[in-house]
Structures are given as structure tokens and as C-alpha cells.
């Protein structure tokens, strides 16, 4: 655990030694405000909740999380530092967890810094704080899933741009598979079990109730299992491709 923490601290420090974290957090805050106020009409709705804010998160993460994830392994392989890292007395899993938690922490910090929105809705009325906390936790979990996918794509290539594009594409599939456009295309001919299965893989389906503040076990479980599976896939890919 001490080793993971040391690796975590190094990764986190590297986010703040370069402009990456600052740029990311700034853009995250600007975009989430734009979405919430202008597109989601937080004020005009006149309701004391953050639903417009959380509803946009899957779309926000779709581009922003791959941007954080793309450097995790690609950069290590491109610069050759992976050879240094992997010849230290640590396991690949420890390196992976250090990286994952550092990036996840940056995402968590970005979320925390949206607290002014939370304060804002207090002017509109009496928000249910439990609902908002639950939605924040759920959103962070979903961000972790995007991140695990992004890291897996980063493990596949030395090229950060390729890693970014792959991650956006894969994440996009997992987002839209629950949208009405996709499901309508199947509705006319596919049996409902197929449609349900496709929908059940979607982040949208699982985030829907979380955004409303319901942290159901199966939704939380879905994101946790997804994170685990994608991280495990990254582990196998890194072991296999580290020297290429």
C-alpha cells in the first residue's frame, strides 16, 4: 500500500508540475457551468436541484476524461520511463493503481470545485443535500469508468492522440448504447432482451437514477465492476506491450 501511495503522489505531483491539471480543471468548470446554466437552464427551471448539471456529465466526461487518461501509459512508453518504472521493485498492478487513483483524484477535485453550483441552488429553494451528495458520488464513479477505459486505450499505443481518439470512440459507444436513438433503431426488429442488454451496458442507463440521487446497488456495482474489468484489461495490455 505504501508503494501505491508513493506512486500516487508522484503521478499527482506530475499533474500539477505541468499545466495539465490546471487546464483540465478550468475547462471542466467552464464547460459544466455553460452546460448547466445556458443549456440546462438551471435558473429558468426554478427548481432547487442540480439535475441539469449532472445530466450533462456523461457528455462532459466523454471528451475531458480521455484527455486526462491519454498520457498515463502512452507518455511512459514514448519517453522510455516505463523501463525505469518496471525495473523498480514494484508490481505492474501497483503502478497501475497509483496512476489510476492519481487521475481519479484530479477528477474528484474538479467535481469538488463545482461547489459554487451547489451553493447557487440554495438560493432557488431548499435542495435535498443527500440527493446531491449521492449524485456527486455517482458521477465520480462514472468518471472512474471513463478513466479506466481511457487508461486501457493509453496502454495500447505510444501515441497520445491515438489514445485519446480510441478512448473517445469507446466511451461514446458506452454512452450512446442507452440513448433513444440507438435503442429506437433496434426496437422494431430485435427482441426486448437484446434491447435491454444493450441498454444495460450504457453509462446513461446507470447514471440516470444516480443523477436523481438514487444510489442503487446495481448501478454502483455496474460502475465498480466496469472499472475493475477495464483496469484488468490495461494490466494485461501493459504486461504484453510495455517493451514495444
Amino acid at each position: 500500500m505504501g508503494t501505491v501511495f508513493t506512486l500516487f503522489k508522484r503521478e499527482l505531483a506530475s499533474f500539477f508540475a505541468t499545466p495539465v491539471a490546471y487546464v483540465f480543471i478550468t475547462i471542466f468548470l467552464i464547460l459544466s457551468s455553460v452546460f448547466t446554466f445556458f443549456i440546462g437552464s438551471l435558473y429558468e427551471r426554478g427548481q432547487a436541484d442540480l439535475l441539469p448539471f449532472f445530466n450533462f456529465h456523461p457528455w462532459l466526461y466523454l471528451f475531458l476524461v480521455p484527455a486526462i487518461a491519454m498520457r498515463t501509459w502512452s507518455e511512459e512508453r514514448k519517453s522510455g520511463s516505463i523501463e525505469l518504472l518496471m525495473t523498480l521493485p514494484i508490481s505492474t498492478l501497483q503502478a497501475l493503481l497509483g496512476k489510476f487513483f492519481a487521475s481519479w483524484a484530479v477528477l474528484g477535485l474538479s467535481l469538488l470545485l463545482t461547489f459554487p453550483l451547489w451553493l447557487t441552488v440554495n438560493y432557488l429553494g431548499q435542495p435535498d443535500h443527500g440527493v446531491i451528495v449521492a449524485a456527486y458520488v455517482g458521477s465520480w464513479l462514472m468518471a472512474g469508468t471513463f478513466l479506466a477505459i481511457g487508461m486501457c486505450m493509453s496502454a495500447m499505443t505510444k501515441n497520445q492522440v491515438v489514445a485519446f481518439i480510441l478512448a473517445v470512440v469507446v466511451c461514446f459507444l458506452f454512452v450512446v448504447s442507452g440513448s433513444n436513438i440507438v435503442l429506437d433503431a433496434f426496437k422494431d426488429w430485435a427482441p426486448s432482451i437484446v434491447i435491454d442488454t444493450i441498454a444495460s451496458f450504457s453509462f446513461l442507463t446507470h447514471f440516470e437514477s444516480i443523477a436523481k440521487g438514487v444510489l442503487a446497488l446495481n448501478d454502483v456495482g455496474y460502475f465498480l465492476i466496469s472499472i475493475t474489468l477495464w483496469l484488468y484489461a490495461s494490466l494485461l495490455i501493459i504486461e504484453h506491450k510495455k517493451a514495444d
Partner: protein, 307 residues
Amino acid sequence: MIYVNNLSKLFGDFVAVNDLTFNILPGDVVGFLGPNGAGKSTTMKMLTGFLAPSTGGIQIADLSMAEDAKKIKKLIGYLPEGAPAYGDMTPIQFLHFIAKIRGLKGKHKAERINTVIKQVDLLGVLDKPIENLSKGFKRRVGLAQAILHDPDILILDEPTDGLDPNQKHQVRELIQNLAKEKIVIISTHILEEVTAVCNRVMIISAGQLRFDASPEALLAKSKYHKAVTLHLSYPSDISGLLELPGVIDMEHERSTGRVTLLTQNGADVLHDVTEHIKDRRLPVDTIFVEQGRLDQVFRDITQGVKA
């Protein structure tokens, strides 16, 4: 204490390392020589546990790399080719990070960090990001990292590549001053480095081990081993030198006035040559016995020509 058995590495169909078998014992300072692409780095990557062998095994300190890689990695200090490091960190941050990962603690950690900073002379750049350092300093940061935990086994892939002559000298001194019971493996294509610091030479070419003995034995393979080279102040008739017993051939560069007498099986001919020079009053201003020319032996061995 390093035992390598029938080690091979294939990349697809390409055989990068081909059936290497050797042992390295404490006290051995091995110069790992070979042309570019010979498989030096690939072998080192397997020795350090970065790459898994395609076939064959590595045993280090009674541990098998396949089973106890993590324990073995604790014993090894490694400078990968090109001295990769985390560019956004400063050398002092980087060394603290490595020290923590290596399990150094408290006072001992501070002592070790101070020692290596002095050893590789990093004091002036401790707070500059590594990516902004010159090639020489980057290499030294990599070296510092490798010797930080005072490892029993030190594996350095081209440690002096890109250094200026002073820095090269410094690195060689550092290696020579390491404790005597350590194992050091250095890859290089600078031949003089081998005679300067190593007590054992391994030459690989096309993934195969072509030579494994002392630097002296390597020099002895040269056709210039014990050859006598002299320099003439002005042209003169030197054909008599070729008649001397033990001399089998003469190379005469007329433009420079340099003459080299090749000897049979490394016979001692210096005495006869000086006598001859005295008798004939030849205008010789320099004369010395060569140890052998490494570049020629190296070419012969790696290109498969008989030495």
C-alpha cells in the same frame, strides 16, 4: 551469482538474442560489447526483469527471475539506454521518489541521497526540471538513481553515451570506486572504456556470444599485439627491419613516416629492432610496443572474420 542459461529473445520471427549462456560472479566488471543491434540492450532488459525471455532462464542470487522478479529487482541498480526519467520532476524530487520506492528511510535515505549527489556531481542542478537538463546531466541523474540503494548488481546501458571526455572520465572513476565485491555490467561501443574499467569482456554480435575473456586476452587476439611501431624523422632505407627474426610483416605509411612491425605469435622483437636501428643509424624518434588494436579485433570478431 548471475546464471544465464540458453537465453533467447524473439521479436516475431526476428531473433534478437540467440542462446546466451554465461555466469557472472561478484567482482566481475563486465564490458558488454557489440555493434548496434547486437542485442545488448535486449539482454540487459531481460537481466533486469523488464522483458521476459522467449526461452531460457535467468537466476540471480539463487532466485529465479521467472518467480522472484520483485526480490531480484531490489538487488539491481539499472540505467536503461538513454537514461529515461520523469522530465517534469527535478533531480532531487526524482531521487526522493526512487529512494522511497526502494524502501530507504529516514537518516539513511538522506545520507544516501547526499552521497550520490556528490558522487555524480548533481549539486548545481538539483532544482531544475530534468527535461531542461543537458544530456550529460540527464545521464548522471540516471546513474544517481541506479546507485542510490547501493545495489550488489549494477547494470548500465551505455552510461557514457553523449558525455564529454571529462564526464566520461568521472563516470569511469565512479565505476572503479565501487566496492570490489559487486557485479557491474556496462554496455558500450567505446572500446577504450573496456580496457579502462572492465576486468572481463563479453562481445555479442547478432544475438550470439562471440567472445568472453579478459581485456588482455582480447588485445592478444589482435595482429598488432606486441607489434613495434616507430616513427622516422625523414625517409630512410628500412627494408632490413623485415629481415629480423620474429618480424613477419611491415606496414609503412610514407605520408606520416610511421612504421609498424608485426610479429609472429606476439614474439618480443623490441630488443632486436633497437639494435638494428643503432647499427644502421636509422632516424627513429619514437618507438613503442603496441598492446593490440581493439577496433580491429572488434571488427574481426563481430564480422566473423578470423582474427
